[in-house]
Symmetry: none
Subunit: 237 residues, 4 copies
DNA sequence: TATGAATGAGGGTTCATTCAT
DNA sequence: TATGAATGAACCCTCATTCAT
């Protein structure tokens, strides 16, 4: 689709950096579209404009390439989010809201991230084997998020009985799943999933909804509703 | 162990019904675990206890079998939900809440449904080719849901400016995604994803959270929050 | 070469026995000629007149097929020899001589056995991994041979100080190596390695020589020669 | 560790001689261990510490390299043997015995020679294509050996009816095959093929046996045994 | 209907070899 | 000369599907 694809026949250009990048790009596209099992190394090579054997000069095998793609796609996100959370010290709802928006927008700008995560979730088998390698970064970010929510709870902004882990999960899932299933939603409502601008506009309207519902749902002063049955933050055995 | 007895192995009898059912069951398990591309027809046949060729007496090919599995797994859900929605005429939040719980519990009792939907979402390519066949049932159920929400809005129970489609999507996504990624969540919080009872208990706690957040988020009287920017229920061009 | 090769195009004949046999035959020929690494599964399949994928219906992989060939080629030999040795109770040199001749003739009639053993010897790596599977049969035969030689030594027919293991090794190696390198020998002496009858005649003359040299070398009464330095039959540490 | 010193890694200097030698050494090891087909040029290059492409500056291709290895490994042997045979004019059995020992010891000191010859023998296909290149040297040595044996026969030391070619072959094969299959022999007799000293000691005991058996087998005065059926030294048609 | 052998296209990967740098 | 990226032809093997029995 992109007009500036890899040079079609510049025979024997010697540029490892570019080659590796082209491979990763093509692989990301292929894995995103077809998942690990559905992806074809031959397609990746072709789209990268290199012979298929060259893949194995840069990556041990298909799976290694897959992981490289995953990490390349998810690491930036975690880094950004981590930075944001680290800087934000005022424990009010503003931070939570901007985090949500930022997450949503990241996924909007990096559609592969959501798609790849969807494959990842679906394919439970792979998950056990190697849970994304940046487990540490991922975990750090997550625990930083939990901490911020606890701070907000301590400051009286968020209902104190809510499990911070669940709070995080709710907004993460909502953002992710939107981008995974926009197409379906749009089609179901009679729109054209390929008309990017309107899809994007719809997304912006959706995140506004999510934030309204979610924020007024977690805000401390909002509720006479009976709290959830169990006390919060129990660990599993 | 009598040599001349009928059905010495309780399997060798010609029983098309049983065979077909066994195939579907095995296929569901295989597709759920590995997705369409990762599933092996040979494994399905072996697990069903039939020779591999027999699959093609009952189903045109792998894809047809896949669709049969999808429909068999999703149709019951839609039917149940449809019934529930049809019966429920009182337009208050009670109905919404019980719908959410019912949906969540259905997924808890039928884990394949969530897993299969996850594969379906990930694999956008297939989706275009054949969007679940029961599109009508699915759409009917959905529009019935929308209608009920509009009724609740008309009755002043739900914030009137919320897009009913979004309201539905939010709770559907939350329920689905929980079952798709429990394992990850549990593992991330130091639990054992294989210990079913505690996972189940965690799910119950989660759905309570979701309902509290979500219900107080959509309830009409809850909010001084500024409404979302755009007016609701715009169609895409 | 053989006029009665596998039926060229009897489409879809359903005969597992024949197919398996054809595969083994073709494989034996290919492995014999090119060794494990040089052999091509595609060639084997083609020569057997079956699609290449069918190999994996009968054998797990190339290596399994290789082992099946080895066992199929060597087991008969060991069995024959074992029988012969078992029956022969008179502990004189006649038995030893007839064993040698029998071994030599077996190799003459089953040229693949010698060739395959040559590959086996050359490829030390494979040897460690799986030393022919019939290790027991092989070892039994060997120890039976040793025993017979000890009997002959006890009876005063064979020089008592000779290590029976070495005696066996000498004649085994001579017989085997002849068949492995006839071609080279013939070519070196100006003959035509492809003219079977004269090669065979040469072999018969050779085995006569071997037997004369070898028998008068081991016969008990033959020697004023000083015995080998070490005492016989020491084990390695 | 001086940054500007020459050859900071004792390898980076341009030294064609050294490079070529390193390649040959690495190649010998690789071919010896895996044969022609099993050998990997990449492994050879890596083991020689040079980039893989450099092989093709020194050798036309893999096969040429293989031949260079063969010649480099076998020529010294032939040269040594040739010298020995040339110098030895006294036509008695002493010369024969010392030749055998020398041959055996050469193989003991140069294990690759035996292993490479084993591959060579196994791979009949290659043999036809290029039979060692030093055919002349090889042939000369062989005919010199034959001549010496004939002299010994003329002098009454060796049974006159024995075919000199066979006599040579017998001892050559025994020596070679020992080194090719020591490992197997040792393992079969419960020893440790990796314990070099005991393997070496065993070899020495073996060659003593071979010499005793062989020498008393060919010695002129040893035998009332009936001579081999055919008259000696017939040529093949 | 049931069985499993047969089919053949194509998948991931290897590897000798070439060539720009 | 040296380097290692690039090339592409196979290679082994998988697997959905067909078909004789």
């Amino acid at each position: 689709m992109s007009a500036t694809g890899p040079s079609p026949k510049t025979k024997r250009t010697r540029d490892p950096e570019r080659t590796r990048a082209a491979l990763l790009l093509a692989a990301r596209s292929e894995f995103m579209e077809h998942g690990f099992n559905g992806a074809r190394t031959s397609t990746i090579a072709k789209q990268a404009g290199v012979p298929s054997g060259l893949i194995y000069h840069y990556f041990e095998n298909k799976q290694t390439l897959y992981q490289a793609v995953m990490e390349g796609s998810l690491a930036p996100y975690f880094e950004n989010l981590h930075e944001l959370l680290e800087g934000a010290t005022s424990p009010d709802l503003q931070l939570l809201e901007s985090s949500i928006r930022m997450y949503f927008e990241f996924l909007q700008d990096n559609p592969h991230a959501a798609r790849l995560m969807a494959w990842w979730h679906a394919d439970e088998g792979w998950r056990r084997g190697a849970p994304i390698k940046e487990a540490e970064l991922c975990a750090d970010t997550q625990s930083l998020g939990l901490q911020r929510i606890r701070e907000a709870q301590a400051a009286g902004c968020i209902k104190p009985h809510l499990d911070p882990g669940f709070v995080v999960k709710v907004f993460v899932d909502l953002c992710m799943q939107w981008h995974v299933s926009v197409g379906e939603h749009v089609a179901a409502h009679g729109g054209d999933p390929d008309h990017a601008p309107s899809v994007r506009a719809l997304g912006e309207r959706y995140i506004d909804h999510v934030i309204e519902i979610f924020m007024s749902g977690v805000r401390a002063d909002s509720a006479p509703t009976p709290p959830p049955s169990n006390s919060s933050e129990e660990k599993l055995s």
